[in-house]
Chain length 334, copies 2
DNA sequence: TTGAAAGCGATACCAT
DNA sequence: ATGGTATCGCTTTCAA
């Protein structure tokens, strides 16, 4: 046998005393094969430390063996997307597929000839040309978060239910005595922001409250959020609770509020629509909605495999739950 | 030709009226080929939108076409590592190699049979079994940050010069009137923390100052940093400047200091040994050392390609510079 | 149930 | 300078 190199399927076959095709069948489970034969092949493989050569497998199967991952261009939520990425990678690892991270600012042009069996798109936005291009492109797409209405339909979607978490959060605010909640939200368009805005507006109306919504600019999040918080607290001192969209801005708002003499968790409740380590370990820990990003990533990859293998016509869907973490920033009791 | 499928090298050759091998040479530039012929082949390829099939290339060349990326298990600095990752990915993209992110908590066991042409290890620590295993393993390794003395030597290293930035920072503190600096540092072992600690100690001694160094535990960074800051400021009110290692802890220390009546950028200067968006856009923007993580990632990948292609015996080295961003948290002038 | 053999697409050696 | 062809490791059809 092949001494210097990694063992090949032929080496395994030789050692098991069968032909290459039989050995192959033993692994893929395709052809019918005697249980004992299969056993022997597997044992031989184990003894040799055999690993299938992915390049050869892919060549033969006509696959690339890679799934591309497209993240949004959002410098704010890096930690969140890193978690999603690790989820995708973990799940891919087990399945022997490699993950090709796409450069976040890649042009639709450079993605035209993307070599991948599929692409996972996180938080697709109609304003992201690369994302739209990928959705229109030839290879199957799975979205983490549904695309907004009007966008091209992907082969698979992991739907995230933000509404119930927002409702739970507002109910919690209400229970803590808050009467006038506000939402500070960046002016980006994706399912997450729209869902939160809608859920917020709906809850407010159904409780006879006029929703207070402040939009901030994504180009200078920090500064425009600070200004929004300032406006909010100065001009409307009945505001007793605030929801913000990211961890960085949550801390910014908390600081601003404190500067105005407000007490977080006292006369002002604060919560973030996405969780992070920073929020959990802040001076006053901040209540947040935990998106379980790693699990979301895993789900996307699982769905991708289902899509690629089944090739079913109708789009396939999975659901992902988020949950509320109540902390000191919204608890008057403490 | 091959209508339904992607064009192959044969299609290009046919269209250019040459043989497959000639067409191949036109791309790889290996054999000697007439300029005109080469031209024609390239044009034909362009017209057909030909892209080499990576699986076939890899199979033939005996490569995997993938480079693995090992990040440290540090939940604190996710944003930083995401940047490094994108740098690696960008550079890889251009070279047609795919990046296999390793699950951060993967066991050395599961990495034994890693399929990759090389592995990039960021911030290798002697305490990270997976990192050590990879360094000892068969495939060439490139480290982003040198491994500590005593660790197995990688094929390539991107050396980061922390010392000069730390010196610059302490000189700056000094110029702003600070006389008694402290360093709060987590108890992890890697080149970055050791370099900063050493540079700090050295600078202090060479300026006739007793270095004040507080170690914090990585298992509960936030809380142990807060305690450290508290101890520092309560028991030693001559401390007039603090360096911390991460962005999250910088904000924590700043909060704690304010709670004790200190003014950041006034009677207490604060700086972080690594930069982040959060620091730049904090209420009081925090002075920090910018590691240019994306560029570091790019460098690692470039070095990896050099290593894989040259197979030179002696370890090869690249240098990466970091720079100081002075902000309000350390500027008395403002 | 198993084996022989064709072929996936690209590379590189050996002729010409 | 260019073309023919064996080869990389694996999957899968077809025969036995």
């Amino acid at each position: 046998m092949n001494t210097s190199q990694a063992p090949t399927l032929q080496d395994v076959a030789d050692r098991a005393g069968v032909s290459r095709s039989t050995a192959s069948f033993a692994f893929t489970g395709r052809g019918r094969i005697a249980a004992g034969t299969r056993e022997r092949v597997l044992r031989a493989a184990g003894e040799l430390g055999y690993r299938a050569n992915p390049a050869a497998q892919n060549l033969r199967r006509g696959w690339t063996g890679a799934v591309a991952l497209k993240l949004p261009v959002n410098t704010e939520a890096m930690a969140y997307y890193m978690e999603v990425t690790f989820g995708v990678v973990e799940e891919a690892h087990g399945a022997g597929v490699s993950v090709t991270l796409l450069p976040p600012d890649s042009s639709p042009e450079s993605l035209r000839h993307l070599q991948a069996d599929g692409v996972i798109i996180i938080d697709p936005s109609p304003d992201d040309d690369a994302a739209v291009g990928l959705l229109n492109g030839g290879i199957p797409a799975v979205c983490g978060e549904a695309p907004l209405p009007g966008m091209p339909e992907p082969a698979g979607v992991v739907v995230v239910d933000h509404r119930s978490a927002v409702v739970e959060l507002l109910d919690h605010f209400s229970k803590e005595g808050a009467r006038r909640p506000a939402l500070i939200c960046p002016d980006i368009r994706n399912n997450w922001t729209e869902s939160v805005r809608n859920a917020f507006a709906l809850w407010c109306r159904s409780h006879g409250i006029e929703p207070v919504l402040l939009m901030t600019s994504m180009s200078d999040v920090a500064e425009s959020t600070r200004r929004a918080a300032q406006n909010l607290l100065v001009h409307d001192d009945e505001i007793d609770s605030v929801i913000v969209m990211s961890d960085g801005t949550a801390l910014g708002v908390a600081n601003e509020a404190r500067a105005q003499g407000r007490v977080i968790g006292g006369d002002l409740l604060v919560a973030a629509a996405v969780d992070s380590l920073l929020l959990a370990s802040a001076g006053t820990p901040v209540t947040a909605i935990d998106h379980a990003p790693r699990e979301l990533g895993r789900r996307c990859m699982r769905l991708m495999r289902a899509v690629v293998e089944n090739r079913s016509e109708s789009p396939v869907t999975d659901r992902h739950a988020v949950s509320l973490h109540v902390r000191a920033s919204s608890s008057r009791s403490s």
